[in-house]
């Protein structure tokens, strides 16, 4: 029974819906691009430099690790480039080259590759890297200090969240939500324009690349908890819309909290995970020591992800 033709044999199913990791990465990058472009438009060439260096170095770190660990080359799947882009988007445009290199090293090597690469990271690599940078190089991640040499034409020339922390809601009263939403505020390269981030987020949700439950729950968590604070004491706590549109809230809700391997997959856990992230963000901002709580809140919810994801529907046919 020897046929001249060689047929391909494999296990069922013989159809596939055509999705893949590269598509996911590249579409996430497409979704992130508008926000990054806004940053480049505001901050000019330095922002472009940070983005380019971050993406290139992230890819190189992963390539180096692939060679060092004698594993298949995985840079083609776009995940490293995506991580580089996201790191650049949360850094200030003035970030020095060594900060970018350290940031991408922390994300790719410490955050992901030593755990086994894509899919094995317990924390969002971007959030982990930024958290380490925030603690280690305070002045470089402090937007007021970092952007002091930029002449920018915004309603406020200081970081709204830092102003809120130092002087209370009265100091930021003049900032209208529309200005904030359009990105006319001091912040990271790609994390300040709410409009662009929301567009990207809606695109990702419609494409089914991120889970809408996480994003919506995160935003709802921020909004509701900030509203409660504001209702109790409007003198000390800013209104919810302000929290929603400043700092890393929207990039966190759409791009960081939704990172797939460190977030839950079942319906209720996704809601719990997202809402908890939102609440933690506001708690850190309003009560904690840090100016912006999104990064630490996301690391915290990454930590509880395996636990909450145990809440799942019962499989069919189980007697016990």
């Amino acid at each position: 029974m020897n046929s001249k033709k060689t047929l391909i044999v494999s296990h069922a199913p013989f159809w596939h819906d055509g999705s893949g990791i590269p598509e996911r990465s590249y579409h996430t990058m497409i979704a992130a691009l508008p926000a990054a472009c806004v940053g480049i438009a505001y901050y000019g060439a330095p922002a472009l430099g940070v983005i380019s260096l971050a993406m290139a170095s992230a890819i190189l770190w992963e390539l180096l690790l692939n060679y060092a660990s004698k594993r298949p080359i995985t840079v083609g799947n776009g995940n490293a480039a995506l991580i580089g882009l996201l790191i650049a988007m949360v850094l200030p445009a003035s970030a020095p080259w060594w900060l970018v290199l350290i940031g991408t090293f922390l994300a790719i090597v410490i955050g992901m590759q030593i755990f086994g690469g894509i899919g094995a990271n317990p924390f969002n690599p971007v959030a982990l890297a930024i958290a380490i940078l925030m603690v280690s190089y305070k002045s470089h991640l402090d937007f007021d200090a970092a952007l002091v040499n930029f002449s920018i034409d915004f309603p406020s020339s200081t970081n709204p969240l830092a102003a809120l922390k130092a002087f209370g809601p009265a100091a930021v009263e003049h900032l209208t939500p529309v200005d904030l939403f359009m990105g006319r505020q001091v912040g990271g390269i790609g994390s300040s324009c709410g409009l662009a981030l929301t567009l990207g987020g809606v695109y990702l949700i419609l494409r089914g690349i991120i889970r809408w439950e996480i994003s919506i729950a995160f935003i709802a968590g921020v909004f509701i908890s900030a509203m409660l604070f504001n209702m109790v004491d409007p003198i000390h706590y800013a209104p919810p819309a302000f929290h929603l549109l400043t700092g890393y809230t929207l990039i966190g809700a759409f791009f960081l909290a939704t990172e797939s391997s460190s977030s839950p997959v079942n319906f209720i856990p996704m809601l719990v995970y997202g809402a908890l992230g939102g609440v933690m963000t506001v708690l850190i901002r309003n009560i904690g020591a840090y100016v912006d709580g999104v990064i630490f809140a996301i690391l915290l919810i990454n930590l509880i992800n395996p636990l909450v994801d145990k809440i799942r529907p019962k499989a069919i046919g189980k007697v016990a």
Binding site: M1, F14, R24, S263, N266
Partner: protein
């Protein structure tokens, strides 16, 4: 092949074929030059009857040793030209008997005498390898009595409507088959499972209880039907302990046909789905090489194409055009090499698409981590391996292209091996 839609928020959904269109008669394939039949037993030594050069008649039982229950029924008249060992799926050792056809059909008369007593023994002896491949063994097992026979009219997979076609075309034979089954087993509760949209086409014509199931894939998978009927799924002991026995529509029709005509049916209905997705219905002798069928319908097969027995979700890929269609082959699907999806060894990225599409609520993302590491019993104990109803949808949507369905089948097979080894030790 259906691709993911641009808007990925909605889950992909498939529907079974409903066979509602006009019925076209199948193309009858003449007896090919050679047919190959499998005796599901390892080739050790053979009786004097089964040797190369021995003449066989249509409907003759071919056994390795005198008195064996396991046999093949010759679908043609001719002489045996080869007997060879055959390695089937999951390492099962079978014997392949190739018969060169000669002249016209001469029917074997043995069954005509045996059919006077329509008992389970007769069914098991003559009809266990008839088209549709009814598994008679569990019906005779006294330790695990069967109380319900499910005639499984749903289709094994999407794209295929062979069973529904049979209900439509051979209602008489199906009714006769149900009658014989009732007589032979004494089981009154016979259920026909049919997609709900087409129930009205069949109810009243068939002499059994109709159980409508959703026409959405995979709600007519045998395990899903079992869950609908009993609310449970079998554990590692298998389906025998559930008291429900599944039989294909074609097998019932074949039993009916055999007892009303007095000769064993040798032809089986098979759908050939070509590269463009066009479906051709054919009636061919059991054992006809796939190549003959493909040639009849002008299906060009090139290097690195894929030929599949069964449907796109749960079928089996075969490695040669010379392999014969078996009594259980409902469809032959041909895939061009340009559309074959490749699997990868990427790890799970925990995107959760599998969890959301799983009709059985299996935590596939966690289960597959255990199965990849070979920890099958942990997967079964902690992450609901035995709730899997084997539909393959998780692999269909997997972003990392992990062959999840293959891991699940392998795990069930390995656990089954351990369990049966333990049972052997206990005896």
């Amino acid at each position: 092949m259906r691709k993911r839609s641009f808007f990925g928020l909605s889950k992909p959904s498939f529907h079974y074929e409903l066979a509602t269109g006009p019925v076209t008669d199948p193309v009858v394939i003449p007896a090919p030059e050679t047919v190959t039949l499998y005796i599901k037993q390892e080739l050790k030594r053979t009786s004097s009857n089964l040797k190369v050069g021995a003449p066989v008649k249509t409907g003759q039982r071919l056994v390795l040793n005198e008195g064996d229950d396991i046999c093949a029924i010759s679908s043609v008249t001719g002489t045996i030209c080869a007997i060879a060992p055959f390695l089937a799926d999951y390492g099962r050792a079978w014997t392949a008997v190739t018969i060169k056809t000669e002249g016209s059909d001469t029917p074997d008369t043995e069954f005509a005498e045996a059919m006077q007593a329509p008992t389970l023994e007769t069914l098991n002896r003559y009809l266990a390898t008839c088209p549709g491949e009814p598994d008679i063994g569990p019906l005779m097992d006294e330790r695990n009595p069967v109380h319900t026979i499910v005639i499984y009219g749903g289709n094994a997979d999407i794209l295929i409507d062979t069973s529904l076609y049979l209900f439509k075309q051979s209602a008489e034979a199906v009714n006769a088959g149900i009658e014989i089954l009732r007589k032979a087993t004494g089981i009154e509760d016979i259920v026909i499972v049919i997609p709900e949209e087409s129930v009205q086409n069949y109810s009243g014509h068939l002499d059994a209880r109709m159980e409508p199931v959703s026409s959405q894939y995979p709600y007519a998978q045998p395990l899903m039907v079992l869950h609908q009927l009993t609310g449970r799924l079998p554990d590692e002991k298998g389906m025998a302990s559930m008291g429900v026995h599944f039989i294909r529509a074609e097998a019932v029709a074949a039993i009916g046909q055999a007892f009303s005509s007095g000769s064993l049916p040798a032809e089986k209905t098979v759908a050939v789905i070509d590269k463009q997705g066009t479906k051709h219905l054919a009636r061919a002798r059991v054992g006809t090489p796939v190549g003959v069928l493909l040639k009849t319908f002008d299906v060009q097969v090139n290097d690195q194409d894929k030929i599949i027995f069964g449907g796109p979700m749960t079928g089996n890929a075969i490695y040669s055009e010379d392999l014969p269609i078996g009594p259980g082959t409902d469809a032959i699907l041909v895939q061009d090499k340009s559309v074959i999806p490749l699997y990868s060894d990427y790890p799970c990225i925990n995107c959760g698409d599998c969890v959301r599409i799983c009709p059985a609520n299996v935590p596939v993302n966690l289960l597959v981590r255990f199965l990849e590491a070979g920890q099958y019993t942990e997967g079964a104990d902690l992450y609901d391996l035995y709730s899997c109803i084997e539909c393959g949808l998780c692999s269909y949507v997997c972003v990392s292209r992990i062959p999840i369905y293959q891991y699940i089948k392998l795990a069930k097979y390995e656990i089954g091996r351990i369990t049966s080894a333990e049972e052997l030790n206990e005896q």
